[in-house]
């Protein structure tokens, strides 16, 4: 079965500092990976996705992620964060179950950006 592990439940960082949110997955088949962001009292917004091709994926709001097959990782990075990046971030892997696509989410990482 596929699964997703987000290694840090909380990441505090100062404004304009770089940040990395870690995500590891387990899968025995081709993987399709996603990062979503959730602001307070809102739904999930897609940041970026890896389906195939280049292992470095660029997303919205200056975020990027690198797919590393040998390390089964898909870490999210931003070189300089803003206060407005404070939110919950979810890594997810698409899985096939009973012939249907489903998303398996990690437990989430709360990014807190301080001035």
């Amino acid at each position: 079965a596929q699964s997703v592990t987000q290694l840090d439940s909380q990441v505090p960082v100062f404004e304009e500092a770089p940040v990395e949110l870690r995500c590891n997955y387990s899968s025995s088949v081709s993987v399709y990976l996603f990062w979503y962001v959730q602001y307070p009292n809102q739904g999930l917004q897609l940041l970026l996705k890896y389906l195939s091709g280049s292992t470095l994926v660029k997303g919205i709001n200056g975020f990027e992620a690198e797919f590393n097959k040998s390390q089964t990782s898909f870490h999210l990075r931003k070189p300089s964060v803003h206060i407005s990046d404070t939110a919950e971030y979810f890594c997810a892997v698409r899985t096939l179950s009973g012939g249907y696509n489903k998303l398996i989410f990690g437990a989430g990482t709360r990014l807190a950006v301080h001035p």
Binding site: Y32, F34, Y36, N41, Q42, G43, L44, Q45, L46, K49, L51, F90, R94, G98, Y100, N101, K102, L103, F105, G106, A107, G108, R110
Partner: protein, 115 residues
């Protein structure tokens, strides 16, 4: 703009009193999902519709039902809400077509409180 709309944003109901949450979409996606998200947790898939085909997750309680009268609308019915059902309920849609791997689009959620 095309989007996924959930109404209401906040819903308060009494213990044991049936409640219905609604979701509509203008994306013309063929799959609609309902997730339950409790505080500081990842979204948990309850069920989804692939067109008119209903797919229940194995661990979704019988207390939760869903209806999809047409492509645009999907409802979540909780027959007898308990205190443990207080959560954010997220609706999502995606287009699934053969091997297509389109990401899911989420609404802003309905936060359900039980008195």
């Amino acid at each position: 703009d095309a989007m996924v709309i959930q109404n209401p944003r906040y819903q308060v109901t009494q213990f044991g009193k049936p409640v219905t949450l609604s979701c509509s979409q203008t994306l013309n996606h063929n799959v609609m999902y309902w997730y339950q998200q409790k505080s500081s947790q990842a979204p948990k898939l309850l069920f989804h519709y692939y067109d008119k085909d209903f797919n229940n997750e194995a661990d979704t309680p019988d207390n939760f039902q869903s209806r999809r009268p047409n492509t645009s609308f999907c409802f979540l019915d909780i027959r007898s809400p308990g205190l443990g059902d207080a959560a954010m309920y997220l609706c999502a849609t995606s287009r699934v077509n053969g091997r297509s791997n389109q990401p899911q689009h989420f609404g802003d959620g309905t936060r359900l409180s039980i008195l």
